[in-house]
Structure formats: C-alpha cells, structure tokens
Assembly symmetry: D3
Homo-oligomer: 69 residues x 6
C-alpha cells in the first residue's frame, strides 16, 4: 500500500503502553529521535506491535506544525 502522507519515518518500536482504549507506541527513528504515536489498542493488536519490531511513523503534512526559538 502506498499512502498520500508526505512523512513516513522508518524506525523501530521501543515502547508500547496500552491504556483502557488508547495505546502509546514509541518508535526510535533515524538519527535516534523518538516519535510517540497515540493509536487504538485494536491497532496495536491488529499490527501485532511489540518492542523491537521494524515500524514506520506516518504523519500527514497538515498535521505538522513548525516552531522556532
């Protein structure tokens, strides 16, 4: 599947925390930065996500803000 999102960052799952309905999945992406995704528990189960798995952080351009110091 190819997707319209402009931002697809290759990475590895380093942490999975399931809540009552919402899970936080932390990926380590290129350069060592950590990216946190808030997704449904069903998605974690559906993708079988666990620490060590290769995974991508996918972000639509319209969901990226820019900030400067």
């Amino acid at each position: 599947m190819k997707i319209s999102a402009r931002n697809v960052l290759e990475g590895k799952v380093v942490k999975v925390t399931k809540g009552a309905t919402t899970a936080h999945v932390v990926l380590e992406v290129a350069g060592g930065a950590k990216v946190t995704a808030s997704i449904t528990n069903e998605a974690v189960d559906d993708l079988g996500l666990k620490v060590g798995d290769a995974a991508k952080a996918v972000v639509k351009a319209s969901d990226v803000l820019v900030a400067i110091d």
Copy 2:
C-alpha cells in the same frame, strides 16, 4: 513556550513553497529525514521562515499513525 506535543524534532528549513493560502515547508531533521509541514502562508510570514533557518517539526502523538510492511 513549552508544548504538550510529544514529538518535537529539531531540524533545518530546506524548502518553502507558498501556495494561494497554504504553504509547504520541508525540514531536514536528525538522521537526514525530510519532514513536510502544510501550514498557512501567514505562519510562514509570521515566523519569517526561510531556507537555512533552524526550526522544529512539532507533531501531536494523536496525529501519528504507525505502519508495518
């Protein structure tokens, strides 16, 4: 200003493309990945964004999808 977004990726502006109302700003972040932000033209002017500037890509955890091959 400190923000609740879990994802703040340090980078540098490498491209700014203004449309009629919406601009695309591309940042090169750690590890060399490119991140595209779709923001308003006013935001580009307000932050005075231009190629070479240090800038951060800010993404709320709830706006990050996870994908696997």
Copy 3:
C-alpha cells in the same frame, strides 16, 4: 504496508482538483458515499492519482467526530 488507522474505506477516484499546493481528491466508497481528501499536490503526483483509479480513504479514529440530529 499495514497501517494503524482503524478506517480504511475502499473506493474509486471520481474527481481530482489540484490547487496551488493543496489538492482535493474525491473518492466514491462502498454504498455510493463520496469522501473528500485534502492532500498535497505532491501526493497526487507521487501516487499518480487519476479519475477511475482504485484507491482507499484512510482516516485515523481520532480524526472522526460523531454527530446526531
């Protein structure tokens, strides 16, 4: 690629309108409903989207509001 988004609606491209930076792509999905996506012009070119193509509308659960009359 498998994605965490809970909503993946199979459909067909029925209209593509490119703006200066942002394009509107209308898909007809199951049951005949029309779904409009606002994506970047680059995404349209990258996916080579044109009328008649099979395509999916992908929406994160956290981006769906619920309304009642």
Copy 4:
C-alpha cells in the same frame, strides 16, 4: 447546525467502548463499512450514544489520507 467538514457519513451505532477518558464508537455506514471514532467519554454521555442510534461520522477533508495498492 451545518458544518464545514466535507465528509458526513450517515450510519448507525454498532458498538460503544468507554475507556478511562477516551471512548471508541463504531458506526456502520452506507454499504456496510464500519467507521471507528475515538471521542471523549463526555461526548458519548453528552450525545447519549448507544447501540442502534442513528448517527453520522464527520471527517474533515484534511484528515483523510489516500492510499493505493
């Protein structure tokens, strides 16, 4: 109330799962597709959502990604 969102899919509530703060509401929309919304528990109570209710899935065009195989 009339809303700017381009995507308003008529449907029926088929599942409501409340978490600690976030609820997942699944609607069956035209053509039988299922759409999952992640909304606050307060919203579920405020709208009195329960299985069998008529309800609409509302999605802003800028929150729809497009994917192809």
Copy 5:
C-alpha cells in the same frame, strides 16, 4: 445536529480568504479572540460564509495542544 467535538466556540466571521482550493476563515469569538479555520473553498460556498455571519469554531479535544510559558 449535535456533535461530539468538545469545543464549540460561538463567534462571528470577520474575514474570508479563498485560495485555489483552501480557504481561511477568521472568526471573532467570545472575549475578542480571533480563531482561524482552514477549510475547503467548497465548504465556504456550501455554508455561504461571509463577513458578519454568526458562526461557530468547532475543534475536537484531540486537536488541541496545551502550552505554557
């Protein structure tokens, strides 16, 4: 129509700027604050939005970030 979004701010349209596909609509809400919405040109036409109209800014709780100085 009643909607799940937790944030519905009553206001008045003070500016409408149409782009090629995307429009910016500025509302003045209670307390005099200005809120900018980026919506489709079709939405502006569909709602017949023009300066002086009563209108509401609707924002899902999951789209609100919090910041502190």
Copy 6:
C-alpha cells in the same frame, strides 16, 4: 518558542483528568469559554499542569471546523 499554529488562546487550567494513557485538560480562555484538550498523561506531567496554572490552548487552523445554525 514561536509556533506556526494560527490559534493560541491564552487561558487558565480549570480541570485535569488523567486516564490510563490520555488526559483531558480543560482551560478557561478569554470571554469565559471552556476549551478541552485531549493530551497524553506524559504531557500533563512534563508540563506540570495543575488547576490554576496559566496555559494556552494551541490549535492548527487546519483542525478548526466552522459550523452555522
């Protein structure tokens, strides 16, 4: 830090509700309107948010819908 989001509403924290992974933070902004943010528990801890604190609701223009009666 200066941010591209067009909507930065000054306010005060009036309620913080932590869930299993997701917290709801309610701010009272100018004019007395209440704005609810759904953010991660980590963000609440990271910003040390508590009732009475000065805080801003930050919303990207592309995340604001417009509605009329």
